[in-house]
């Protein structure tokens, strides 16, 4: 018996390192999962329990093992030892499910010890009489550890899932709140409320151009120091999260998350934890990133909503302007048309009116016509000044508007000597014929206005390298040399005393039209008169297939 016991003792000694190795393996495995789990911010926070409560769990596990021993002791005679092992395994399993991994591991070892001490012969001794019980111990320990590990893992996963669900719900609620936000201040409030629960002070920095050093407008939070501002700028420019430990615990912002929308970065979210725990903040980074992207989406929505609203306003204003202009044009044109027509009727009356009356009627007609001309110029200027003139550009010959404008002004030009120098082979130019005709008419009218009867008026055009060059000059006194730069300004007049009728609109309209075509216009004096030159960019006219048959 003694020899036998000694033999078994040797076996027991050999079995111990084996069990230790297995245990170490498990601890490693457990450590690995813990590392993986800790990535989830809130979940990880929740799984960390206060140490006193943890101690209580170990005690409870030990108590359960003792209870199992007490419960199984009376049954020792009735049950097989194999079944008593089962009771211990059940205890370990319960510990794993209810108390977590640590207590369960402890229960596994403690259970093996209790089983050995109280049930395995020789009882009330740790010595083992039959070596085969070592196998029982090993299996019992292994099963205990495995089940405890699995059960603990399961409950951990459940907790984790619950925590994640909570996190998702919180984010969902944040998204819902942000969805209703109509202003950046509101967005800031919502963000502060949400992150305030994590003990963080929030500053929302919205990019607004402005200064190079700090191109943001700050919402919420206290004034940021220069260092914090530079971190924020860096996060904004590099589109990446900037974290700094150097300011931790000083109440300063230490995490700067760029608010990146698909199109562009809208600003930076600066977070200052109210506690010094930097690690905790790091654990919550995924959550913070999610918050930042929600904020970015909301801010972008606000940005586009704002732009859409502004566009709508602009369209409404434009519509109003157009309708005012067109009704003005109609309401003023109608009486002028009547006036011109009725006065002209008097001029052509048969039998003729007394000479003085005919002359008067003629003057009324001409004045009404020039008033109409003024009205057209004013309306045209209003349209051009609105800035969004749609040019009705087409490829056409410049020669055509020379012909049409001189025909329109035939009466006016009758007592001037008009010289037209337009080469026959000018390339086609892309322009709005109606507007360019207006330019030529205005320039020719001016030339007539500021030259004596019989004076020479020259209309000259030639194709330069990149532009068509046109000039209209007239014999006369020319522009006053001190104000030659101002002649294109609205309501600028050539002479101090307006001896000649006109409004000073003509050249301003010319300039607006030429600029809209991408050309240039200058006024200058030449010996014996004035000259206005303008250019129109030459492009590549569309190809023309020549006729096959000659």
């Amino acid at each position: 018996m003694g020899r036998e016991a000694a033999g078994r003792g040797v076996s027991a000694v050999q079995a111990v390192p084996c069990a230790r190795a297995m245990f170490t393996l498990f601890l490693l495995h457990i450590y690995d999962t813990r590392v993986i789990c800790s990535g989830h911010g809130l979940a990880a926070m929740r799984t960390l329990l206060p140490s006193d409560r943890r101690g209580g769990r170990y005690l409870l596990a030990a108590a359960l093992c003792v209870l199992t021993t007490l419960g199984a002791a009376p049954l020792r005679e009735l049950l097989d030892l194999a079944n008593i092992v089962m009771l211990f395994l059940l205890t370990v399993f319960v510990c794993a499910v209810r108390l977590g991994r640590g207590p369960a591991v402890m229960a596994a070892f403690f259970g093996v010890a209790l089983f050995d001490f109280f049930f395995v012969p020789p009882q009330l001794s740790l010595a083992v009489a039959d070596a085969q019980y070592l196998v029982t111990f090993a299996v019992m320990l292994a099963v205990g550890l495995i089940t405890s590990h699995l059960a603990a893992l399961l409950s951990e996963r459940t907790e984790e899932a619950q925590a994640r669900e909570q996190e998702t719900r919180a984010l969902y609620e944040l998204a819902r709140d942000l969805g209703g936000a109509l202003a950046i201040a509101q967005v800031t409030d919502i963000a502060r409320r949400f992150l305030g629960r994590l003990d963080m002070d929030v500053s929302l920095l919205i990019a607004e151009g402005g200064s190079e050093v700090f191109p943001f407008r700050q919402y919420g939070g206290r004034h940021l120091s220069e260092l914090e501002q530079s971190f924020a700028r860096s996060a904004y420019q590099r589109r990446s999260i900037v974290e700094t430990d150097s300011l931790a615990g000083m109440g300063a912002a230490i995490v700067f998350l760029p608010l990146a929308a698909p199109a562009h970065v809208l600003g930076v979210l600066a977070l200052a934890p109210q506690r010094d725990d930097v690690d905790e903040l790091r654990q919550q980074r995924p959550l913070l990133e999610a918050v930042a992207s929600l904020l970015a989406i909301t801010l972008e929505r606000l940005h586009y909503a704002d732009a859409a609203q502004r566009g709508e306003l602009q369209v409404a204003a434009e519509r109003l302007r157009t309708s005012i202009l067109s009704s003005l044009s109609h309401d003023l044109r109608t009486p002028l048309t009547t006036l011109v027509g009725l006065a002209d009727t008097l001029v052509h009356r048969q039998p003729a009116l007394p000479e003085g009356a005919t002359e008067t009627a003629g003057i009324i007609r001409d004045q009404a016509r020039s008033m109409h001309h003024l009205l057209s110029n004013l309306l045209e200027m209003a349209r051009l000044q609105a800035g969004n003139v749609t040019l009705n550009k087409e490829w056409q010959a410049f020669e055509e508007i020379v012909g049409s404008s001189t025909r329109l002004l035939a009466t006016l030009l009758a007592d001037r000597q008009l010289v037209i120098e337009v080469p026959r082979q000018l390339p086609l130019v892309c322009f709005d014929a109606v507007l360019l005709e207006r330019v030529l008419c205005n320039l020719l009218e001016n030339a007539v206005k500021y030259s004596p009867p019989g004076a020479r008026i020259r209309l000259f055009a030639r194709a330069g390298e990149t532009a068509l060059e046109v000039a209209v000059d007239n014999d006369g006194t020319g522009f006053p040399s001190d104000r030659i730069d101002q002649v294109f300004n609205l309501f600028a007049r050539g002479e101090q005393e307006p001896a000649v009728a006109g409004t000073g609109l003509g050249l301003a309209i010319c300039k607006a039209i030429i600029i809209a075509h991408g050309g240039t216009i200058v006024a200058e004096n030449r010996p014996g008169g004035a000259c206005v030159r303008f250019t129109l960019p030459l492009g590549t006219p569309p190809a023309v297939e020549e006729e096959v048959s000659a």
């Binding site: 044109r333 009705n392 055509e400 037209i420 109606v434």
Partner: protein, 229 residues
Amino acid sequence: MSETQACVVVVEDEPQIRRFVCDALGKEGCASLQAATARAGLDAVAAGRADLVILDLGLPDMNGIDFIRDLRTWSPLPILILSARSAERDKIAALDAGADDYLCKPFGVGELLARVRALLRRHWHSGESMPRHQFGDVEVDLVRHVVSRGGAEIHLTQIEYRLLAVMLANRGKVLTHRHLMQEVWGPGYREQGHYLRIYVGRLRQKLELDPAQPQHILTETGVGYRFQP
């Protein structure tokens, strides 16, 4: 007016303008029917006897373009439009819808009567064949396809000749760019406006005394061309 007394329907909502237009027409020897609305105008034309319609594009009860389209479904009467100078788009739409000519407000009696005379002449002579035309020092024989200037024959390409023929057939009438492109080049070229500009330029150089100040092939800026004998 010679021949019979012409009857002109004046559709214009402004009574003062209507009045002086009718006044002028009366002195020219034309009878006139006044209508203040499009509906009344259409009724007046339908009553028969009318030779010409003068139409203001800005009527209160109907778009002028619709009036023209409506009228064109049952009457070939010449239509003269009164419109504002800046409304090129309206003019083009009206001309494409079937109007014959336009007059920009404000206009004098002389301009009005010149247009009315030209349109009535065209209307009355519309059935007559015109195998030969003469303008300036140019003679065109449409039967023999011969164009001569100052007695010397001028060579025109096929397209130039076709363009000239379309213009001659519509003497005095404003032809929109679109219409001319369609008539001379066919529907596929409708958007190739530069062809028309180039060929009109060539025609002017062959037929006009001073192509920069043409007397016959006139530019209606932003709208089209008008041939004036």
